[in-house]
Subunit: 473 residues, 2 copies
Amino acid sequence: MKQLGNLIDRIVERININLRDFEFDAGPFVRKAIPLNQLVKFYASCGITPQHPVHFHFSRSNLAGSYFYGKCMVDNAILYKSDVRGDELKAQGDRFHFKGSELPLYDDEVIRIKDACLIKTLVHCYSHDPESLEEFLIQNTASMHYANIHGSPVEGCFIGPFSTVDLTTVHDSIIGAFAYVQVGELSHQNVEPGKVWIKAGDLFEFSYAFPKKVLDKYIAIGFGEKPRGIFIDFVRSRKTDFQNVFDVVNLDAPFNVPPGASLNRYAVVRGQSHISENVLVAQRAYLRNAWLGKGANAQENCYIIDSRLEGNNVTAHGGKIIHARLGENVFVGFNSFLHGTKDFPLEIGERSIVMPHTIIDLNAPLKIPEGHIAWGYIRNAKDLSRHSVSIKALSEVDGKFNLGAMKFKGSGAKFVEAFKHRIEHILEANGAFFDGRKNRGHAQKSQDISFNIVHPYRKGPKKGIYPRIDIQP
Amino acid sequence: MKQLGNLIDRIVERININLRDFEFDAGPFVRKAIPLNQLVKFYASCGITPQHPVHFHFSRSNLAGSYFYGKCMVDNAILYKSDVRGDELKAQGDRFHFKGSELPLYDDEVIRIKDACLIKTLVHCYSHDPESLEEFLIQNTASMHYANIHGSPVEGCFIGPFSTVDLTTVHDSIIGAFAYVQVGELSHQNVEPGKVWIKAGDLFEFSYAFPKKVLDKYIAIGFGEKPRGIFIDFVRSRKTDFQNVFDVVNLDAPFNVPPGASLNRYAVVRGQSHISENVLVAQRAYLRNAWLGKGANAQENCYIIDSRLEGNNVTAHGGKIIHARLGENVFVGFNSFLHGTKDFPLEIGERSIVMPHTIIDLNAPLKIPEGHIAWGYIRNAKDLSRHSVSIKALSEVDGKFNLGAMKFKGSGAKFVEAFKHRIEHILEANGAFFDGRKNRGHAQKSQDISFNIVHPYRKGPKKGIYPRIDIQP
């Protein structure tokens, strides 16, 4: 395992040099987060479809449990159970529109991961960075458990557990546990844990921070420790359900998958579950007694348990929904934790928006009315009143609007419009609007995948390192 | 599936042009032999160990069910369930000895398969051809079900079902069903079905041909038909036992594997089976109620059922042993079919040699005495008397010696010596003599394999074609 040890040293060294302003040492975190014996046991999958241009290149890396799509180059990296989705990469000749400019792509865009260590992290590729159109780069970076790197090239960063960088290019920054940033570009910042921060230039800014005491209960990471808390326990207790799914080479769907829908063979389906037309269930999604209406999607690392979603629902990466009924077009953002129980169920009316990184952990039954937007920490109706607003009311805000610990400024109308536009785009991209011929999205394009499965060396100095692999059409 | 169809056309065209002297059309055989829907369902495995230098390169090919080792390049080929073993390839700097000459290798040797279609064929790499040291070439060739290409570069050949080319470079030739040739070099020949032919220059020559009526019962292939007969039925009836083995990604051994032994995870083990130290059980070997003594080996495509092998036994590729007790150092050659039953068991005394392509299908109990050599078609003691001779007696032959349909000429001593030398080499190469430190062979080097699993496109014009893959250390 000598080479694997050297690789970890190299990655830590490079992260630390980028984060020298903060005198930050990624070493203890990275070393604690990497289960060396698991790195040897697990395998990586490369999904190949007739629809996606493919190029996989891996060298001097460990890819245990990872899942790749599209065009992905990985050198000197450890990707432990990372899902790296290159199915939205731009192609040569595409034109990227950015604030009135139109920039052509001279080559196909690729995801390039170098000198990085991503633990159970999802990398989703649609980058909004106009500065590097052909390369979506992740370099000199560590991300901890279940962080989302979503359309966000990152360089020299430490990204905490259950955090999300969303459509934000990030340089030399620390992103705290469960923080969410969607701010376009970020450089040399230390974002506090539990901060939810959305900013679009001078148009609008939304921010909320979880009280430290609350956050610590759900997710915390001490210096050089493994992350702990309710989120970690929740995921860990369902880990064995995934084992069967990964043990077999091909897996047949547990029920008839309707036209236009796709159930990834690396998803877990248990109990009385049902999916309707145009539903997308992504790899590592978890359904138990889940009913998904037409055009709903269950994205990577999401859990839908004892719940019914009426249709055109988005459950974003890492979203968790337990004992809930969601009306049509309800959106649940990244890593949100919606925890009803049999006695205290959750109901959400149609067209409502649950902001990314929201925790709804009920001690009483709760109904969120239709057309509302909710954020923060909610346990009951009283909490809800200080952590939600009707979309209509928010649209009328122009200037400052504070409620509880939430601060908003700018144009509420623009904020709502941007959000609605994005939800519409997500549904469209995932194939919710497929009519049998047109409007194909991921649900349709992700059928007929075949997988190449790659394993590391099992013994000797290369133990844990994968052979150098290049796969092209 | 357009590209797969084009590929088959291309391969057939090239075989036919090489075999134009015979006005032979490989097309109907090849098309009948290739189960298009299976080509899409199965996957290929590339075995990676710390001991073997690795380079896999595959392009424009289908590799369904194949298993690779070492350095293998495959272009424009269909390898359906072929085991391609590059674990005995020579390395740069090695010196190849040939009749007093010493030839250095300037590069690592590679197996290169081009424009070929190999159906359930084993390719074993130790080439004895001094003319092409760095490349073991298989080109413009079709081989049918369970043929063995063993240390034999072939070009422009049609190799019939259950036939073997062994340490023989073959050009533009047809090898009939169940024929065995070990003659050094062969060009523009049509070898009749069921011929067993061993020739070492002027030193010795052994030949035997199965009666057509007997052969037809065991294996026959009509023009443009699938092969049929007892051999095919035998293999087909055990096919489902292999299914489980291929369905899971990693498979734990069903019993404790003793030191120095190796049980390949793509072997089938059923019933009360036992393996001792230094035993090698290769991929696609099949054991049911099989007891294997120290240093025995069970090679690819062999079946050992309700039998006991005392130790240092070789069961060569495709050998089948049912209801038999074999003493120490008994050798069973390629594709031999030793079929005892509960009522009519077979016993073979120590140091006896069952020639490649021998059929022993009993209608009475039979004992082959120790130190004997047996060939041809044997059903009982009467048959044995006309199809065997003591090794001692054969050693004393100098000149002609005919017995039944067997014809021998030359030095019996040299023949026996060559055979014994080869058996010793096979045991050594497979690791039978490993003492815990020295004399490592395949049994020891084949531990700690990890596998990369590659799949074809499932839909579209590339359906059935594998992506272009390159794997290096």
